[in-house]
Amino acid sequence: MREKRLDYKVLDHTADLGMIVCAETLEGLFESAALSMIHIMLKVEQTGPSSITPLSIEGQDLADLMVRWLGEVLYLFEGERVITVDANVQSLSGHHLEASVSTIPFDPQVHEVLYEIKAVTYHQIEVLKKNSHWKTRVVFDL
């Protein structure tokens, strides 16, 4: 398993909010992007036993895959009321992503919500390799 460091910075946008995430590998970039988004949304200090959810995602290209992947993680919180605390990408091509995420139940008494992210947008979406690192830029709708 790769070690996951949260290497992200928040991007200023007048009405909304974005993030720039960097990682050494493409798989690591997707994992880190999911965890960074959760870090922006929620303060999770305590974690208990987690469940594993497999995710299989099709996209047109890496940028589309990123939007769809983050959208799934967001849906797990909004629709299923669970928080993604870990993410593991098993396979990743330009059009397909196989991953599993570890989740814990959301408890509003325990987990502080910092931002309600309504959606992950395609606006100025970017997934690219710069020198030896991978980088993504994502804008959220708040």
Partner: protein
């Protein structure tokens, strides 16, 4: 990208047609507001929208325009029904985010000492904030009925009165809603969010009518100086967000299939007459109707809370809906363009419909004075009621501005608020605020927004809508 602007007159600027633009851009603004707009990318977004197939006459921007994603917020664009497109990004994630205002028979001096308790009671009774569950629990089949029937579903269930419906844009129901096109995820996100306010810039506000500009229209709207009014700003919650998200992804594939050349992927779209375009319209109508039911229920909760907290009778309170408008929507409408009657799909993303007097779509009660146009400001200053004017029908597909519009990003606002007690500053101005999120107050502080009075002045003087009354906040609840 450097955008060249050509000044037409005191309130109008043109972005000349260049490159892939199919029509020019038309910006309603003032020199002062324009300075802030130039600092960000919203003018580029106005010209991007002008490149979309079937756009008619102008890509329009209201004076509260700010940087959105894909379409600018405060943008209006109409597309011809046979050759034009529909874009979920031109509506926004919060489909039918909108505003309603209720009048009362109360005067501010009667309830001023009770405002703090009233705000506390509203905060307890009205679910706010992220993931809050509503007072109405739906089954999937009942949720489908909400999606089809809109505000009338809520009235049938005892939330409000039948007369509220004629005081709601489109009677609170867009026809053509088809729940069979929705995903399970959309249904799931909507199950427990009906009757919830949400977070961010959504609010419920107790206001006092501070100034009347037009006595005749104010009388027709039931407004008088010193009166207590209540304003609600909310939308279709997670249900609408998921519907937009689902269809943007479908349209991203359509864009590839149709080989549309888009300057921004968020502008993903489909031809209005295509199967996908029609399915999106049917899905969008579901979310719009859900939002109207939501605001109808929120109004009912506010009504109940006022009665209980103030220990008064319904006739003493006399809370009546003045009007409900949406400001994130796409609608099939008839408009005259260069002397020709056209059926167009008008996208209003952060813009309000503004019908002038005598328009056939107006209810009889407002036929003589025009449609009420509701402009919420920020929590420290004012909100406005305007009435639609002829200029809107001529120039903007009957549209006006929708609010103040942000000027500071959230982190800029937080930085500016550092070390300050915004809560206390507002209390010193006589405004009691309760909010769920710790960051909300700082991010939503008055300086984060443009001067709403300057925005309203532009639409008034440009002849899009005329000022009727100004309201000052006394109490606010936020997510």
């Amino acid at each position: 990208m450097d955008i060249k602007l050509k000044k037409l007159d005191e309130f109008r600027w043109i972005i000349p047609k260049t490159g892939a633009m199919r029509v020019p851009g038309l910006i309603f603004s003032s020199p002062q507001l324009l300075e802030a707009i130039k600092q960000e990318q919203s003018l580029v977004q106005v010209s991007n929208v002008a490149t979309l197939p079937g756009i008619v006459r102008h890509s329009l921007a209201m004076p509260d325009i700010h940087w959105g994603y894909g379409f600018p917020i405060g943008g209006v664009a109409a597309f011809e029904e046979n050759e034009g497109i529909i874009s979920p990004g031109g509506v926004g994630y919060d489909i039918n985010c909108g505003c309603r205002i209720m009048t009362t028979s109360l005067r501010a001096d009667q309830i001023r000492p009770m405002i703090k308790d009233l705000v506390a009671a509203l905060f307890i009774n009205i679910p706010t904030g992220v993931g809050s569950a509503g007072t109405v629990r739906l089954t999937k089949s009942e949720e489908a009925k909400v999606a089809v029937e809109g505000a009338s579903w809520a009235v049938k269930k005892g939330f409000g009165q039948a007369e509220d419906l004629e005081r709601t844009e489109d009677h609170g129901t867009i026809p053509g809603a088809d729940p069979s096109v929705l995903s399970d995820k959309a249904f799931k996100r909507g199950l427990d969010q009906l009757g919830t306010l949400g977070s961010g810039n959504h609010f419920l506000e107790i206001q006092v009518v501070d100034e009347i500009y037009d006595q005749e229209r104010a009388r027709a709207f039931g407004l008088f100086e010193g009166q207590i009014t209540v304003m609600i700003h909310s939308g279709s919650r997670g249900f609408g967000h998921q519907i937009c998200d689902d269809f943007l992804k479908k349209m991203a594939r359509e864009v590839q299939a149709q080989r549309f050349q888009l300057p921004d992927r968020q502008l993903a779209c489909a031809y209005i007459k295509s199967d996908l375009g029609q399915r999106y319209l049917a899905a969008m109508a579901c979310a719009a109707n859900y939002a109207w039911a939501n605001r109808q229920i929120l109004m009912h909760l506010a009504h109940e809370t006022f009665l209980k907290a103030l220990s008064i009778s319904p006739s003493e309170l006399n809370m009546k809906l003045l009007y409900d408008v949406c400001h994130n929507i796409a609608k099939i409408e008839r408009h005259t363009v260069d002397g020709q009657e056209l059926t167009v799909c008008v996208h209003r993303k952060g813009a309000t419909r503004a019908l002038p007097p005598a328009h056939p779509l107006l209810p009889d009660i407002y036929k003589a004075v025009g449609q009420p146009v509701l402009i919420p400001g920020d929590m420290g200053t004012y909100s406005f009621v305007l009435a639609g004017a002829e200029g809107a029908l001529r120039e903007t597909f009957a549209s006006s501005c929708h609010g103040a519009g942000r000027v500071l990003s959230r982190s800029q606002a937080t930085k500016k608020a550092k070390g300050r007690a915004i809560h206390r500053e507002l209390e010193d101005k006589g405004i009691f605020v309760q909010s769920r999120g710790k960051k909300t107050l700082k991010e939503e502080m008055p300086e984060a927004y443009k001067d709403v009075s300057a925005v309203v002045e532009v639409v008034h003087r440009a002849g899009l809508a005329c000022k009727v009354a100004r309201m000052r906040p006394l109490g606010v609840i936020k997510g």
